[in-house]
């Protein structure tokens, strides 16, 4: 197993405010880490640091793969849905590092790659639609295609199951499980119950990070780690029920 990423004693945040503190994490090829934690606990800050979008305040991060070998699926609400761009162009932007001075040959290969990814996700028919015309599930599929354009060794997904129907949610997790055979995955979710069934390990982020060696966490463990969580249960999807999170504590953890 190859070590892709190592984070040591890392602190990061915005405008001088520390959001995550003294974080240690190692990511190996083949990993499937589910990142859970309360809103404002620092889940997104963590992955933005990994992606190089935020500079660490202290500590260090060693990336053993190139930055462009990380596939990224941002939160859907970070995207301007009225932007005039077609689905195929969104997917192609996943290989943006070759966009500067692109040859015709490279252009064609890039387009073919995008087409084949769209076909794989079963959304070839919407290739020329504008991004704003899509449903939530279609949009997440498009962004997943974009994240896969560069054949990443590490796939980072920030809440890919928001605004999607339960059907697609199950489909998405199965797809991720399949992708995990070729790449490591870090998956942020508020939906602890569902993801704990699919991921291999769980990282609980609430200012500090606790990486649990398995995908099962007991209530006692959670309590001792001070990681309040909400319970979400789905009828047909297998789930683990975690500790009920209390309103007062939640409020405190909003930064």
């Amino acid at each position: 197993m190859k070590k892709l990423l190592e984070i040591k004693n890392l602190s990061a945040g915005y405008d001088g405010n520390v959001v995550i503190e003294d974080v240690n994490l190692q990511v190996y090829s083949g990993d499937f880490i589910g990142v859970i934690g309360p809103n404002g606990g620092g889940k997104t800050t963590l992955i933005k640091t990994i992606l190089g979008l935020i500079k660490p305040m202290s500590g260090e991060m060693t990336l053993n793969i190139s930055k462009t070998n990380i596939g990224y699926l941002p939160q859907v609400n970070q995207i301007d849905k009225r932007f005039p761009i077609s689905v195929i162009d969104v997917v192609r932007s996943g290989k943006a590092n070759s966009a500067l001075f692109s040859s015709f040959h490279r252009n064609r290969k890039e387009k073919e790659k995008a087409e084949s990814l769209l076909a794989e996700m079963g959304i070839s028919a919407i290739r020329n639609k504008a991004i704003g015309e899509l449903s939530g599930g279609q949009m997440q599929r498009v962004f997943l295609c974009r994240a896969l354009m560069n054949d990443p060794q590490l796939l980072v997904l920030d809440e890919p199951s928001t605004y999607v129907d339960n059907n697609f949610e199950g489909e998405l997790y199965l797809k991720l499980k399949e992708l995990n055979e070729q790449m490591a995955i870090i998956l942020i979710s508020h939906d602890v119950g569902t993801i704990s069934f699919f991921v291999k390990t769980i990282a609980c982020v609430n200012r500090h990070l606790h990486h649990h060696p398995s995908n099962i966490i007991s209530e006692e463990q959670l309590a001792s780690y001070d990681c309040p969580l909400q319970i979400i249960t789905h009828g047909n999807i297998p789930h683990t029920v975690l500790k009920l999170h209390d309103e007062h504590e939640h409020h405190e953890h909003n930064h």
């Binding site: 190089g52 462009t68 995207i79 932007f83 005039p84 932007s93 943006a96 500067l100 974009r146």
Partner: protein
């Protein structure tokens, strides 16, 4: 038709025609970028700040457009700097530069001894008095813009759509943000003579809104915007000439009418389906 061919035999009219064509090219393309990226307000700030340079130009006896160019580029950078480093809210930062530029302009125009010639033409535009020298400058700018947006089409598109994602792809995001800011500033300054400071925002937004009715694809939106901007500018120019009313305002009015028509036709065709 005779009367129109006759019009083209006048130098001033030919210049006005060329100015409307070149304005359509630069504003159509740059405006699509501005509208797509939702930086219309920043562009408004830059436009008005450039008035400071015009006032300064009068006072120092240099070409007011040169002063306007310097002021607009500085204010564009200033807005970015204030909001990114100075922790001022972006819209407040825009308003500060917007009004500061206007204030400096007013003070210097007041201090300039005697009469400030053509002041109104900078504020409200005067396409019929555009000089041949200015046409050459506009031509050069249009060529630079067409070349830049053709060469870096995908880079610009990707950065505009999702800046964070573009950063993770190692695209030179900051460099492009600054280059595009400079192009916006230059576009604004060189088109001031066509419709004026007060009205220029319309050339950067109305044709794009019209184009957006018909397409939701960045590249096509640029083409359509150039087309609509040119069509409305030329019709507006003719109307203003024959009706003897101010050209800048007439051009804007035509833009809005054209937008309304296209929107109406689209709505009718949608209900007919």
């Amino acid at each position: 038709m005779n009367i129109i061919t006759e019009l083209f035999s006048y130098d001033f009219f030919l210049n006005a025609f060329l100015a409307s064509l070149l304005a359509a090219i630069s504003c159509g393309i740059v405006g699509t970028y501005i509208v797509s990226r939702r930086i219309v307000f920043i562009s408004g700030g830059i436009t008005h700040a450039s008035f400071g340079g015009i006032g300064m130009g009068y006072y120092l006896g240099i070409n007011p457009l040169l002063g306007a160019g310097i002021f607009s580029i500085l204010s564009g950078m200033g807005i970015q700097l204030f909001s990114s480093k100075g922790k001022v809210r972006e819209d407040s930062s825009i308003a500060i530069w917007w009004s500061l530029g206007m204030a400096i302009g007013i003070i210097f125009v007041y201090l300039t001894p005697g009469y400030a010639p053509n002041l109104m033409s900078y504020l409200f535009g005067s396409i019929l008095t555009v000089s041949t020298g200015e046409i050459w400058l506009m031509l050069a700018l249009s060529l630079v813009i067409v070349l830049f947006f053709t060469l870096f089409y995908r880079t610009i598109l990707y950065i505009s759509f999702d800046e964070d994602f573009a950063k993770t792809s190692d695209l030179p995001v900051n460099l492009f943000n600054y280059l595009l800011m400079i192009l916006i500033s230059l576009t604004i300054v060189l088109n001031i003579r066509v419709v004026g400071i007060i009205l220029i925002l319309s050339l950067l937004t109305i044709p794009q809104a019209t184009a957006n009715v018909l397409t939701r694809e960045f590249g096509r939106m640029m083409f359509y915007s150039v087309g609509f901007a040119f069509l409305a500018s030329f019709i507006g120019l003719l109307i203003s000439y024959f009706a003897d009313i101010p050209s800048g305002a007439t051009i804007i009015f035509t833009q809005v009418i054209l937008f309304g028509l296209v929107k109406l036709i689209k709505m009718i065709s949608l209900t007919a389906k």
